[in-house]
């Protein structure tokens, strides 16, 4: 027996024991991807930058949804599969606000003297706030009715309930007197403006005119999505890290029974967490519908799934993780659609998830029992 231990392990044994094959494969894949990116960048730097901008536009929307998944998971260890459908409700709420009630135009009606950009901005922010409040109320109700009674039940029960709530929201929404089962064209609350960035500077691109060669096109839609998402992420970070509610949320995530003993209203904090996550999904719904102007009752499934993947990739439970994970998924999707093949976009995005989880099972920022929100 001693003799066996003292024997020097053969090369094959070393490879197997240290899992070198798997690691080597991962390194090879990573190098291949990097090489592909560099080649693509050199082949057409402006096109590449344009695709990166496209990826950010998608990634920031995913980030807002992913934050809801990650917060709820962090505090009650529940994967809230109804989250994508709350996102859908947010999109529809803004659709009705804009198309039926013209809520985005109220500032120009009430205060006609305001400059156009200001009244548009105030109108759009009102619409987003309305969607956020609607979604927060819905999530609060769902939590009270469907999840709270199951707080001490096995985790699988709550998970199945979440799937049930998801189906309920989808097919209740599909009823003709609710949202209806059809594709609905979404009316954007502001006109689209495009700017072209060239080596000679920035200028506005009139509609119907082809952009000049080697120019980067940025529309106000991309800008709004990025600015609003970043603001909301900072706001969330502030709430979690700097306020009493945030402190209570972190305490609840860390240890529920002890938090209760310390006088924290744990159930109330959980409800607030659900509501904040849903409000972010509501904002995401509006931004997504503005970028891809069509709403329908199952529109939340795919973005919800991708955002969930993003949250896991970033390390579920971590706020910066959700943001980084979502940006990686958004970029991976768009860049693989641009440089590999469009039908492969999801395969590539999900392969990145698998590869990252092989190397870091808790995700990029995932450190269990730390930084939970």
């Amino acid at each position: 027996m001693n003799a066996a231990i003292n024997q020097k392990p053969s090369l094959i044994e070393t490879v197997i024991r240290k899992r070198l094959l798997g690691k080597g494969f991962l390194v090879a894949v990573a190098l291949l991807a990097l090489w592909k990116l560099v080649i693509s960048f050199l082949a057409g730097p402006t096109i590449f930058m344009q695709q990166v901008v496209n990826g950010f536009q998608l990634g920031f929307v995913y980030a807002l949804i992913a934050l809801g998944y990650t917060m709820v998971y962090g505090i009650v260890k529940l994967i809230n599969f109804a989250h994508g459908d709350v996102f859908m409700v947010g999109a529809f709420a803004s659709y009705y606000a804009i198309s039926r009630f013209g809520l985005n135009t109220w500032p120009s009606k009430v205060l006609p003297g305001l400059p156009v950009w200001l009244s548009t901005a105030v109108g759009v922010i009102t619409v987003i706030l309305l969607s956020m409040v609607t979604c927060a109320l819905i999530a609060f109700t769902i939590e009270r009715i469907a999840y709270k009674p199951l707080r001490n039940a096995p985790r699988i029960s709550a998970l199945i309930t979440a799937i049930g709530v998801s189906f309920f929201l989808e097919y209740f929404g599909a009823l003709p007197m609710v949202f209806g089962p059809n594709f609905v064209t979404y009316q954007r609350p502001f006109p689209v403006v495009e700017w072209v960035i060239t080596t000679s500077g920035i200028s506005q691109l009139p509609p119907g005119v082809a952009p000049p060669d080697n120019s980067l096109i940025i529309s106000n839609i991309s800008l709004y999505i990025i600015i609003i998402s970043v603001l909301l992420v900072f706001l969330l970070n502030f709430i979690v890290m700097r306020t009493r509610v945030g402190k209570a949320m972190r305490a609840t995530a860390y240890d529920k029974p002890t938090s209760r003993l310390m006088g924290i209203n744990v159930d109330g904090i959980i409800s607030v967490t659900f509501a904040i996550g849903a409000a972010l999904a509501g904002a995401a719904g509006v931004l997504y519908a503005i970028a891809f102007p069509q709403v329908y009752f199952v529109m939340g499934i795919i973005p919800g799934l991708k955002a969930f993947v993003a949250a896991v990739l970033g390390g579920i439970g971590s706020i910066p993780g959700a943001l980084v994970g979502a940006l990686i998924i958004g970029e991976a999707e768009v860049l693989s659609a641009a440089y590999i093949s469009t039908p492969m976009r999801d395969a590539v995005a999900f392969s990145i998830l698998v590869i990252v989880l092989l190397v870091r099972p808790t995700g990029i920022f995932g450190e269990p029992s730390r930084e939970k929100a």
Partner: protein, 385 residues
């Protein structure tokens, strides 16, 4: 009392069996045409339009004294746009009603099994609107001698739009299609082939899946390719999404598509400046079209009592029925084999264009090109292959 009631009921029942049988027995003076239409099931409105179109055609022939000196009698059977009910209805028409000619079915999935029966029993079938290639040709590529259709098949629309694009002077095109959908792939392939033959150049081709909503990556490539035409032969929901995003990405190419665009839900702002092909358009100024609109509007009213505008289903059913009866007249006999031969060689001016048949029993006729501009869909021109 109850005995008398029973006697009356029995009498009525017996009478109801005998009387129609008498009618059938004395039917030597009429030519029976069967209609297979989905009057119930998933698409009953298709059935109603089809029945109205066929009835109009039969009534017009009868008003002119029928065909071969005999009146035409229309026998309607509900086929539900589905294989089994359609087969049962076809068997009933052929065996019980002794029909030798069938107009129908509307749906390809029902027309194909019916075509198996009619070719066995030597009954002439003409489908007004089934676009699947397998309706007139069997699995081994052999043409079914007794089956025809009045509508063009999917790839034909690709050819028409390629011709339209090249007559407009466009030289470069970018094609986008759904890889998992035979309809869009068929149109895209036909467009590419014809456009290249006509001297155009396809500068890019991209596929997507039907659940995609973010088309930014593809559209950035379209803008970069500087293509003059973006051919997108998909349904209106994809057109709405792509159209709106294309304008954000600086795409200036003219969008073109097929009859999948033809919907009240097409976003006319997103598709602004685009063109699509369709079977027929009420805006067509040919006298035969305007005459058809008037006749149909006089015969049928909508819910509000206004004259109805015939849709593509009614129009193609009207054309299909006319073609069939014209073939009987041309054959000069009621023998279905002779009628099928006459139909294969016919040239008939229908509402949806002057129709002749190719070797696969598919019609060669013009398609309508419709333009979207200023929030309206307007007939542009009729393009013959």
């Amino acid at each position: 009392m109850s005995k008398r009631l029973l006697a009356i009921v029995t009498l009525v029942l017996v009478a109801s069996f005998i009387l129609p049988a008498c009618g059938g027995g004395a039917g030597g003076g009429t030519i029976k045409v069967g209609l297979l239409a989905p009057l119930s099931g998933a698409v009953p409105t298709f059935g109603v339009s089809t029945q109205e179109g066929t009835t109009m055609a039969v009534n017009e022939w009868n008003a002119k004294g029928g065909v071969l000196g005999k009146k035409i009698e229309l026998v309607v059977a509900d086929s539900q746009c589905s294989a089994d009910p359609a087969v049962n209805a076809a068997n009933k028409l052929i065996d019980q009603d002794k029909v030798q000619y069938i107009v129908g079915e509307v749906c390809s999935s029902a027309s194909i099994p019916v075509s198996e029966i009619v070719n066995q029993k030597k009954v002439v079938q003409i489908s007004p609107t089934s676009t699947n290639a397998g309706v007139t040709v069997d699995k081994n590529g052999v043409v079914k001698p007794f089956t025809f259709r009045a509508c063009f098949i999917d790839p034909f629309q690709g050819l028409v739009m390629a011709k339209f694009a090249s007559t407009k002077g466009f030289k470069t095109a970018f094609i986008m299609y759904d890889q998992g959908n035979d309809y869009t792939r068929g149109l895209a392939e036909a467009f590419e082939k014809s456009f290249t033959q006509l001297g155009g150049q396809v500068v890019g081709k991209e596929t997507y899946t039907k659940t995609d909503t973010d088309f930014s990556a593809i559209l950035t490539k379209v803008a970069d390719s500087k293509a003059e035409v973006l051919y997108l032969p998909d349904y209106y929901n994809i057109v709405n999404l792509v159209g709106a995003q294309a304008k954000d990405k600086g795409v200036t190419a003219v969008m073109m598509g097929g009859d999948g665009w033809d919907s009240a839900d097409l976003d006319v702002k997103a598709a602004d400046g685009g063109f699509y092909s369709n079977h027929y358009d009420p805006g067509d100024t040919r006298p035969i079209v305007q005459d058809w609109l008037k006749k149909y509007g006089a015969a049928y009213k909508d819910d509000k009592g206004q004259p109805k505008v015939p849709d593509a289903l009614a129009t193609l059913a009207y054309d299909a029925t006319n073609l069939l009866i014209a073939a009987i007249q041309k054959a000069g006999t009621t023998d279905p084999t002779k009628v099928a031969e006459a139909l294969a060689g016919i040239s008939w001016e229908g509402v949806s264009g002057t129709i002749t048949f190719d070797a696969q029993h598919n019609p060669i006729k013009a398609a309508a090109v419709i333009g979207v501009s200023g929030g309206e869909k307007k007939f542009v021109e009729s393009i013959a292959p």
